[in-house]
Amino acid sequence: MTDDAMSRPLTAAIRPGAPPPGIADYRRSGGYLGAAKALREMTPDKVREEVTAAALRGRGGAGFSTGRKWGFLPKPDGGDRYLVVNGDEMEPGTFKDRLLLEGNPHQLIEGVIISAFAVRASHAIIFLRGEYVLAAQRLEVALEEAAAAGLVGQGLFGSGFDLDIQLHSSAGRYICGEETALLTSLEGRRAIPRAKPPFPQTSGLWGCPTVVNNVETLCNVPHIIRHGAAWFRALSRGEDGGTKIYGASGRVRRPGAWELPMGTTVREIIEEHAGGMQDGYRLRGFLPGGASTEFLTAEHLDVAMDFASVEKAGSRLGTGTMVILDDRTCPVGMLQNLEHFFAQESCGWCTPCRDGLPWTERILEAIEDGRGRPEDLDLLAMHVDHLGMGKTFCALAPGAMEPLASGLKYFRADFERHIAEGRCPWR
């Protein structure tokens, strides 16, 4: 075992630009040992307890404890149960799951096998973003290899556990990343979120008990089982276990994604790994975890990128892949672009999202085009307030309001200048 594999378990086997490890390579570096251990030596409850003890929190953005999530499933009653992998990575600025999917598909499959065993699901479905064509191809190859090796199918690892894994490529809507809309979409219907409760663990895919986990989350599971919860927690610099794939996009020298200890500071990610800002650009702010998180600014550079610390700073860790705003880009224009995305991706189910987001988009467009009015800021504030969590059907619109709310707070002078001058100062 190399140091690399022990400090960067998720990405050690990934070689950028090269094909992913085949099953033989994957096994040579210890692949499927975690699955073998789980299925041969552990009970499902023991696996769940280990994952809970590892303090693995969901990497899709909400950060819920994975072990606890699994614990909400009812006791098996002989009926079908599903593990669904959320690979619908459509959050703007986010590309961490793609790295894992394209770079090491067997790692995900092994995570699926162990997790499905833990929740006693005999069916697993990988729901993949439609545009991830390369990932789909590589996953298909890996699934065939795994099937040929007897790693999926009947009586895995000599246990009585059966598992089939299906790959489903999405037709492509942001809302499909919302776990209940994902399930509805999988059932062949309009991708509309479901009311919670009932949670998917109670009534999920086809009405059966279902767990939905993010790609990165599941990729951690084999390593936790192989090396133990204590090792996993020790990877992190904070309370949350493991490493995290952080990313940075925007005017940095080296945009990209890096697996680093959970709790690495923003400064370290931007300055060391992304190489700092490009010449001539200064950092004005950043969305720490994708488009639907609140802006933080230069004063937050020393915030640790873990769930609690980012929340304390006023935002969310989200997907951990940050979008950076520089001083030569108009924040109003950036927000208009973001709200355009969210308005377009609203599923149209609930009123505030369907009709509120297009209004905010148009107000931002008007301000950016020099047609803004002073009362527009009040209207934007009204939307921030009334599109909040609990007021809309799902988290899409509240997410869309996070950059806007913080943008109004940190860049209010820019808004006012647009309105006062009747033009965008950056144009």
Partner: protein
């Protein structure tokens, strides 16, 4: 269980398990909503019903919740008036208004628009959105429903009703975000027979009543009257609207035990027969118009010497039939039914009175957890019952959801949890039906085999039931499957009726219910009858048509007085012709013209259902009163008044001393013990609220003088209505009338049909004042203790002959609705339906002309191939001009013939 809920500081007792919106509305609060509907449940889409929920009495921050999505819990603290909640609700309207056109003045929904009401209720008054609205292209959706998508607020009610509730496939929601579009994949007629409900379910003017649009009036400008649908035997309650003497539209009138919130399209759009331009409005003698006095003089010349009999009608009121019965005498009163139909109806009454199981209301049918349909194509013969059974198949879904802790009103969650799981529904009919896709199993059988299946199922449930000795093993094992499902149910329902013309089918259904009751199951029966007063007429009793014809043959009778009946629809053409040719006088009283009327010596124009009052008895034996919305005009008067006038001029016997309808109703109730409760169907003419009559016209009814300004500038005196507690006026009692007398639903702040909330004891529950109508059939304590009838012999195909049964179409088989313009537009031409293999042997292809010989009659029409038909059988669309006069079912000869259809 009642729990305590505190709303804005006041404590209320509400039922646990409801959602907060249901509870708040039932308590009388004006909490706005769009996507929720009592019959469709909660989905949380519109976010309009937000209220503030507090942790406890000490919590003043609270959080917004959607009332429709939040279960009531004991000790809950809420605020409707909370500032944040109010401001959020106003914002929801403001968002909806970003795209809603400002076309209220020219929108047909204006004045009865739920969106207008909710907008006013939330206090949103000023538009702040200054950008472009989204626009759509509208679709042609057929003759019933007009489409204006730009008004859409995307509450999703239409698609949830049309697809989820009514099972329609040709309507959906398309696209996404602010461009969600509700319509069809392409222009075309809405195929579902409940499409007209979109008009009422849509909270604004996206789906509107197209025939109303052709002769439009605002809600406040239309008089209303409580009425009962006359287009089948279920007795759905309707509201009739009229202005300036014209019927404008029919709306659903809520009755929680019958139609609830929904009507079928035949009921809603069938009223056009009443206002046909060719309608006869003056008495005729040999087709020439007569004055009233001249008519009575002629009648005075005919009646004293005549040897008349009266022919009644299952589509006329009890009062009209009774008046005829009194005019001619009970011995000379005939029901106007074929002998076989009369026997079937009498059998049904006997079963409902003395049998083991009660008649199911439609609400009961909806609660049935296992259903067997014997010989009825319900979507075509009793559409609203088919809609109820569609809901009955969801009992299993509610059970599954219940086990997962999902409340039954959380609609999408229930559907997601239950997926395709359905309660048992078995259908045994000759041909495919539109309910088949919900059925656990379907059986395609001729009528006698349907009956045998029923017998075999009964026998599988109870050993003492008559044994089907010669059934095949497969047949008996199928029966076993059905028997098991019915016997395992708590509330099984057996549906049968007169449609296949088979006594054995009805007896089999009764035996099955009996077998289930012996097993301790609370079985119910639903017996389908064809017309709006079929059961009332059968309860009245009298001779049948065959007997009437025989009396003419015997020379004992020379005059027919025919009440609202076309004899050609009830007997073979040759028999009717022969009979009418022998008569000296044929006197016909009807509102509509037909072949019998065309031969009348004297035709008396009768008031239709919208300009007369009377009592009808539905298929469960419930007497219900219908009321006129307009007074009869021209030479038209109520049938019973014509009959009274005839009694006055016949110079013998007692005159009929009736001044108003109540006199007739009371006389009928007194003369016929089985009908004694009809006086309780609705309050009589003397009923007053605070000394005043109930106005038919809303308080904002406008243009009373302008309507007559072409003739006089003076406002004419409103017509008197001696027969009912309703007035042809806008003046009268302003308080809410009892359920049977509600002329329109309207309440302060509630101008749309959803004002019905304010008339119910609780939302979606019974109307205040209890269920309208009066049940005439009371089950005897001495229920029958033996099984009925005997097992019919198996179907034996005959060489060169086909067993032709009647098939039904919701649009076309019923006499009156097929004359209504929007329905006439979509009638299909009748065909002979044949099994493809049989047709192939005869060299008959789809659409080819065939000749059918049946009884003494010959018909030529195109063939259609129906793959579901069993070999040796065929079908013919009943009630069309091409099929009336053929006695079905019967053995027919079929051959290909030359020529083009």
């Amino acid at each position: 269980m009642a729990v305590t809920l505190t709303i804005d500081g006041r404590a209320f007792q509400v039922e646990a398990g409801d959602n907060l919106l249901h509870a708040c509305l039932s308590l009388g609060f004006n909490l706005p909503y769009f996507c929720w509907h009592p019959a469709l449940g909660s989905v949380g889409a519109c976010r309009q019903c937000a209220v503030k929920q507090f942790r406890d009495a000490g919590d003043h921050a609270g959080r917004l919740v959607m009332a429709c999505m939040t279960p009531v819990a004991d000790g809950m603290h809420l605020s409707i008036e909370d500032g944040e909640a109010k401001s959020f609700r106003a914002s929801v309207i403001e968002w909806l208004m970003t795209n809603h056109p400002h076309d209220c003045p020219v929108c047909p929904e204006g004045g009865e628009c739920h969106l207008q009401d909710m907008t006013v209720m939330t206090g949103h008054v000023r538009r702040r959105y200054r950008f472009h609205k989204r626009t759509f292209r509208n679709q042609y959706l057929g003759p019933f429903v007009a489409h204006e998508m730009n008004r859409c607020i995307a509450c999703y009610r239409c698609v949830r009703f049309y697809r989820d509730y009514a099972g329609g496939q040709d309507f959906d929601v398309f696209a996404s975000h602010r461009y969600v579009y509700f319509g069809r994949a392409e222009d075309g007629r809405l195929e579902n027979e409940f499409s007209g409900n979109l008009v009422e379910i849509c909270p604004t003017g996206v789906f509107t009543d197209k025939p109303l649009g052709r002769l439009y009036a605002r809600k406040w400008d239309m008089a209303g009257a409580p009425s009962v649908c006359v287009h089948c035997g279920l007795g759905c309650n309707v509201t009739v609207n009229a202005r300036a003497g014209h019927l404008r539209r029919l709306l659903n009138r809520y009755h929680h035990q019958i139609n609830g919130y929904f009507l079928c399209d035949r009921g809603r759009f069938g009223h056009g027969f009443a206002d046909l331009p060719e309608r006869i409005r003056q008495p005729l003698r040999q087709s020439h118009p007569l004055t009233r006095d001249a008519t009575l003089r002629h009648l005075a010349g005919i009646l004293p010497a005549a040897k008349p009999i009266g022919i009644g009608s299952p589509r006329a009121s009890l009062e009209a039939n009774f008046a005829l019965r009194q005019l001619v005498g009970p011995d000379r009163f005939h029901l106007g039914l074929a002998a076989e139909e009369q026997r079937l109806l009498s059998l049904i009454i006997d079963i409902l009175q003395k049998g083991p199981a009660p008649a199911a209301t439609l609400a009961d049918a909806e609660q049935a957890d296992a259903v067997l349909v014997l010989g009825e194509d319900l979507p075509n013969t009793a559409p609203r019952l088919a809609l109820a059974l569609r809901q009955a198949t969801r009992r299993q879904a509610f059970a599954i959801a219940g086990r997962l802790g999902i409340p039954s009103w959380l609609d999408n969650a229930v559907r997601d949890a239950a997926q395709q799981e359905k309660s048992p529904l078995f259908i045994a009919t000759l041909d495919a039906t539109r309910l088949d896709n919900l059925a656990t199993a379907v059986f395609r059988l001729p009528d006698m085999e349907v009956a045998r299946l029923g017998y075999a199922i009964a026998q599988a449930i109870d050993d003492d039931a008559p044994k089907v000795s010669d059934g095949s093993a497969e047949f008996l094992s199928q029966a076993q499957v059905v028997a098991q499902a019915l016997a395992e149910a708590q509330r099984p329902l057996i549906v049968a009726g007169t449609s296949s013309g088979s006594r054995a089918v009805i007896e089999a259904a009764a035996n099955l219910a009996w077998a289930l009751c012996r097993r301790g199951r609370a079985a119910q029966l639903s017996m389908v009858v064809p017309e709006c007063d079929s059961l009332g007429l059968a309860l009245m009793g009298g001779g049948n048509l065959a007997e009437a014809f025989a009396a003419v043959d015997a020379g004992a009778v020379d005059t027919f007085i025919v009440l609202e009946n076309d004899l050609y629809r009830r007997a073979e053409r040759s028999a009717v012709d022969a009979c009418l040719n022998r008569l000296r006088h044929l006197l016909v009283i009807d509102h509509s013209s037909h072949q019998t009327a065309a031969r009348a010596e004297i035709f008396l124009p009768a008031a239709d259902f919208a300009e007369s009052d009377g009592t009808l008895v539905n298929n469960e034996g419930r007497a219900q009163r219908f009321f006129s919305v307009r007074p009869p005009s021209g030479g038209i008067q109520e049938s019973w008044r014509w009959l009274r006038d005839m009694a006055a001029v016949r110079h013998e016997g007692e005159p009929l001393p009736w001044r108003q309808l109540d006199d007739v109703t009371a006389a009928c109730a007194k003369a016929l013990p089985g009908l004694s409760d009809i006086t309780n169907a609705a309050p009589g003419a003397g009923f007053r609220i605070a000394g005043a009559k109930i106005p038919r016209q809303p308080q904002r009814y406008s243009g009373r003088t302008a309507l007559h300004a072409d003739r006089t500038m003076h406002e004419p005196k409103p017509a008197e209505d001696p027969d009912t507690p309703l007035a042809y006026s806008m003046e009268g009692a302003a308080t809410k009338p009892p359920p049977s007398l509600i002329p329109f639903v309207w309440a302060p702040a509630w101008n749309s049909v959803q004002a019905i909330n304010k008339f119910q004891q609780e939302v979606g529950g019974p109307l205040r004042g209890g269920p309208a109508g009066s049940l005439l059939i009371h089950r005897s304590r001495q229920a029958r203790r033996t099984y009925l009838g005997e097992v019919p012999r198996p179907f034996a195909p005959r060489r060169g002959r086909w067993w032709i049964e009647p098939l039904y179409a919701i649009f076309g088989s019923e006499e009156l609705s097929r004359m209504s313009a929007p329905i006439a537009e979509i009638l299909t031409s009748p065909t002979v339906a044949l099994p493809p293999a049989d047709a192939a042997r005869l060299g008959i292809t789809e659409g080819a002309l065939v000749e059918l010989r049946l009884g003494g009659e010959i018909r030529r029409m195109p063939a259609t191939l129906h793959p579901a038909l069993p070999p040796g059988t065929g079908g013919l669309l009943a009630g069309t001009p091409e099929s009336i006069g053929l006695i079905l079912p019967g053995w027919g000869e079929i051959k290909a013939c030359e020529g083009t259809p």
